[in-house]
Amino acid sequence: MVSKPKRSRTVVGVDVGGTFTDVFFLNEVDGSCDVAKVPSTRSDQSVGIQEGIAQQLKKLSEVSLIIHGTTVGTNALLERKGAKTGIITTRGFRDVIEMRRRDRPETWGLWGMFEPIVSRELRVEVDERVLADGTILTQLDASDVKSAAGKLLSLGAESVCIFFINSYANDTNEKLAVKTLKEIWPNDHITSSSEILPEIREFERCSTATLNAYLQPPIGDYLERLEGGLQKGGFGGEVLIVQSNGGVMSVNMARSFPVRTALSGPAAGVIAGAYIGVSAGFPNLITCDMGGTSFDVSLVADGESALAAQTAVDFGMVVRTPMIEITTIGAGGGSIASVDRGGLLQIGPESAGSDPGPVCYGQGNDRPTVTDANVVLGRINAEKPIGGKLARLDVDAAKKAIKIHVADLLEIEIMDAAEAIIRVANAKMAGAIRLVSVERGHDPEKFVAMPFGGGGALHAGALIKDVGLSKALVPRYPGVTSALGCIIADMRFDRVHTINAVLDDLDIRKLASEIKKTAEDGQKRLVEADVTFDGVEHLIELDMLYLGQTHTVAVRLPVGLEDIKSSLNTNVIRTAFENTYEKVFGRLLHNIGIRVLNLRVTVIGRRPKFDLSILGPSGDYTIEEAKIDSREVWFEGKWRQTDVYSRLNLPKEQVVSGPALLEQPDTTIFIDPDLEGKVDQFGNLIISRKNV
């Protein structure tokens, strides 16, 4: 099913980060593209978005489609600024959300604290009970729901979540509660746990559904402001929102399922990474996003990004929806270097963030950070800070901080201390890369590192050497990678449903019609939005395990949707399970029953891609003309005269030999003396070892 392309105009990808709003423009008529970067407007992100678009386009009516990666949801969760929310739940279970899975925030130290987003008085119990096999033990009385709702409203609740025990097995009571609520609740902020996540595991379902309810009002308001503002400016197209799984959804879907945007921002960057990598001939890559406080890595194998089943936005705030798997460690530009009492040099976990930021920003922090070390070593140009907020960076203050807090304590020279900070930070980042690659059984030599964000490119060379990766690939515009990812992300609809049956007892006909129904529902949601697709695909997976195990494996069923009723049978499922299990664990277990826990159906609407070669260098400059400066950079114990190039002016296929610094508005790249760089036809810089 392919829908008709619209009048082609400009497609806009917008990524709103903590500091900057990045915009990527793609003119679908002539294939040209452009970028813009404006400060984020924290109080209302939609203002920054309009300013960003206005930087390059006179009229919003020229825009046909806006795809938006947003941190509104993430911020509302982290800052606890969602709506006042109530929970209506089964008698005896109102504390599920507060009791969690009986955990604690830190392994060591017993000072953990947790405040649930819905306080105890706003969690009201009603008589109802479904058993694990779906039997209704106690019918719900609608009048109980009415009085519960009355209580919640009198306490000021704006949004409500229905969460009943075992509702994944039978949603009759939850549905009745929703129906009843719709008659009396003053708005449409009603979430039910079986609608959000009909999956076994009460805490995870309750938490996900409650966070959804908590986000509905703020995300709904935000989207309304965004659409309203855009329409006032003459925009007549469609807005799509990036989900944590790397796919996009319509604004309507985002209003109903805001929890799916919890990690929207970083997901878009990984999607872009995968696409850029595949286009450039590197389908195996590890994206590295270095921000002010953290270093995020994500693995893409054969062009596909790894998905995680759930994540915790904060301690006890679990969101269980498929999302791009991103591993985060506390090593960013703002991470503080210190020497502990045992005499060991540490980077992080404390961070100066971007405010007050590194010492060299001169905004009040006096403890040295990774960025300070880069400035002292000459790798960051103190006269030309990125982002344009500051006029220049204070190198002397950075030096002083490194002397007091590192060099003197280790009894080494300042420059050696600065280099030590970088090397320990690199080692930490290398550890994170090893965690997602080597430790998952991937051969690092087959992977390239792809730094994006502002800081990563300074460290890329060291990282490939530390981990044994083949190359590093720095995209043309590392600072706007996420915005680019928005443009190419596919539309995606995920659905999970717990089956929990032994394979031999499984009702195949029922499963087949369930799959068909779910897939058709997903497809319907895809076409709701007026969006162009190159094609639509379905992924049908079962979470399966041997009886007695607790960890499932995701088994992709080799069946199509059209003939599912005839092609699906127990043997097909068993064979698919055994093939997958053997691949993961190396052997099969015999004479043990097999359980089917969950059904997962994903509907993907493939959106048209654009040819990245339009990002390639213009060819207007020679390599000599691209050279803009030369300055001293400290490397391995001495100052080295280092050529500085304007990265965007570098011609393609010409080798830049290290040591070299490549500057561009949104980042600085350092090529170590034993490495070299080359720009490819897409404008990517490929860093590799020198041939000796």
Partner: protein, 578 residues
């Protein structure tokens, strides 16, 4: 030996830790039994070639093993020396002796010498909690054991592999002694894979950096840990500080057992003297000396969070543990309930530290793992066994109130979802809730324990419980009060309800269809004087139902209505006159 530059040291520290972490991850992924796969009751590390001391330990394993594993490795080293064994590349020992090697029979240790240039460079070891190792009670928590032989099979260090060749006979013996031989086989294989992986990674690292550098790094990391610990101790005022805490009973005789601890701080050294502790008991709450030291390490690591997981931490610490004490038993004393005793050792450590350094301390956590099982036969004759540990409150601390419903300080295990339990066994929970008034009163209140009520859906079943803190609640510190007692109730007669004679320990409680058992777990101890708690916080606690109005009056001297309205005037009057 060359001294490493600080950068190289920090880099190698990360690389070495990553090897142990990766060994942990390998076992968690491939283990068959949920106690390892979900609860992470396992651990891996690198140990000194001559002394067995912990060099590097994984960060994600069970905290208590961080201290215990060095004893297990030492046991192998001693055996090799006494029996004049020549170790070869590819040898692996397997055993579960709890007396020298620590903890209890369920924990099987695999120890492998790592060779470099023809010499043993260090040992690699893996430990994991197996699902069933024989004995009288499935799952091996036998509250009425009087000898280790009733707890399970006891295997001394024997060769599992000789020069890389597997001894199938050993596996046959192990499997034949377990109710769950398949699970045992899967876990054993996972542990072997973890050791293999550690072997490969360490080889690579040695090749990359050379033996000299790695050796120096290990020595310097150890010295750095010792310096760090010594520096923390020297911050504490010299003197002797004492506290005691109690176990309810040993499950056999209903008499309390004392854990008495005197900590002597002398400049940068600390002595932990357990002389005032009760003698070894008949029941299964004894522990071995190695387990006792391991649990002290856990407490120290909770208090001084920055110290690393290597033996250097214990260098400035001296232990006095009398040989007849319940903290240093040998064969055949029963030890399966070691979790309860080490939790008590950790509690008493916090209580002593609260006198020396109140700002580093906290009220005691709920202090019992409450191993509860229900077992019976389904209508179709299939046997079912539900087994789980339950949660409770953490203590109040300098930063605020204790965590509600946390896990035990000795582990990072999570509780299974109740929906998974209901789907797997013929039971249903009728309550899964926080327990009001269970948190110990204090300026910063202890966190709440929980109430779990379970109804049997099949015709008949038996219940078993191994718990503690039924007579002595988790103590508060700096004037804080104790958390509520552990309470277990089961039906008796027509409508009656009773609790076990040994309070929280009992086997074979018979249940009929639709009967319910109820476990009410302790909250944490309070931190600081309850009368100093902000009355507004007390009123809020009443409004939210964490504390009753009656307790607000009794324990906090606050006048609060049942719906949480504070009478400030009356409260001022109450507090002035008390």
């Amino acid at each position: 030996m060359q001294k490493l530059d600080p950068v190289m040291l920090a880099v190698l520290k990360g690389r070495l830790e990553q090897i142990a972490d990766e060994m942990d991850a390998t076992l968690f992924r491939s283990a068959f039994n949920p106690i390892i796969a979900e609860a992470h009751d396992a651990s891996h590390g690198l140990y000194h070639a001559k002394t067995g001391e912990t060099l590097i330990q994984g960060k994600s394993g069970l905290p208590v093993f961080v201290g215990a594993m060095s004893f297990a490795v030492k046991m192998v080293i001693d055996k090799v020396e006494v029996e004049n064994i020549v170790l070869k590349q590819g040898d692996v020992f397997v055993f579960n002796d709890p007396y020298e090697g620590g903890t209890h029979l369920s924990d099987f240790k695999l120890v492998k010498p790592f060779f470099h240039e023809g010499e043993i460079f260090c040992f690699l070891a893996s430990v994991g909690h197996w699902h069933d190792v024989g004995g009288n009670v499935p799952g091996n928590y036998n509250p009425v054991a009087t000898e280790c032989y009733q707890e399970g099979m006891l295997i001394p260090p024997v060769f599992l592999y000789k020069e890389g060749v597997l001894n199938e006979d050993i596996i046959a013996i192990l499997q034949s002694n377990s109710r769950l031989p398949g699970s045992l086989y899967g876990d054993l294989n996972g542990q072997v894979s973890a050791l293999d992986l550690g072997d490969r990674r360490l080889k690579d690292l040695l090749q990359e950096y050379g033996k000299e550098k790695i050796t120096s790094a290990l020595v310097e990391l150890n010295q750095s840990a010792a310096r760090l610990m010594a520096s923390y101790i020297s911050d504490l005022p010299n003197g002797t500080y004492s506290a005691e805490d109690w176990l309810d009973n040993d499950g056999i005789i209903d008499e309390p057992l004392k854990i008495g601890l005197d900590i002597i701080i002398a400049d940068n050294r600390m002595t932990l003297d357990f002389s005032r502790t009760s003698a070894a008991c008949d029941g299964p709450v004894n522990i071995s000396r190695s387990t006792c030291i391991a649990s002290c390490y856990v407490a120290l690591k909770h208090i001084f969070r920055e110290v690393p997981a290597n033996a250097g931490v214990l260098e400035p610490i001296d232990f006095i543990i009398p040989e007849d004490s319940l903290l240093s038993v040998g064969r055949p004393k029963p030890v399966c309930g070691y979790t309860e005793t080490i939790l008590r050792v950790i509690d008493v450590m916090f209580q002593v530290i609260s006198q020396v350094a109140p700002e580093m301390s906290n009220g005691c956590a709920y202090g019992t793992i409450n191993a509860l099982s229900m077992a019976g036969y389904r209508k179709n004759g299939v046997r079912w066994v539900m087994f789980s540990f339950f949660g409770g409150g953490h203590g109040g601390h300098p930063n605020g109130d204790g965590l509600n419903h946390g896990n035990a300080p000795i582990s990072t295990a999570t509780i299974p979802p109740l929906e998974i339990l209901e789907a797997a066994y013929p039971i249903r929970f009728t309550r899964w809730a926080l327990r009001p008034d269970s948190g110990g009163p204090g300026k910063n209140r202890g966190g709440c324990g929980a109430i779990y009520e379970i109804e049997l859906l099949e015709e008949k079943a038996d219940a078993f419980l191994f718990g503690e803190r039924g007579k002595f609640g988790p103590p508060g510190v700096i004037g804080g009060e104790s958390g509520a007692l552990n309470k277990f109730s089961y039906p008796t007669g027509v409508n009656g309800e009773t609790s076990p004679p040994m309070v929280s320990k009992m086997v074979g409680i018979h249940l009929e269809q639709n009967q319910r058992i109820r476990l009410e777990t302790p909250g944490g101890g309070g931190y600081g004087d309850a009368f100093e708690r902000d009355p507004k916080l007390v009123a809020e606690d009443v409004r939210l139902g964490y504390v009753t109005a009656n307790s607000a009056f009794e324990n906090y001297r606050c006048s609060v209505s049942d719906d949480g309205i504070l009478d400030q005037q009356e409260t001022d009057r109450l507090r002035e006159t008390s």
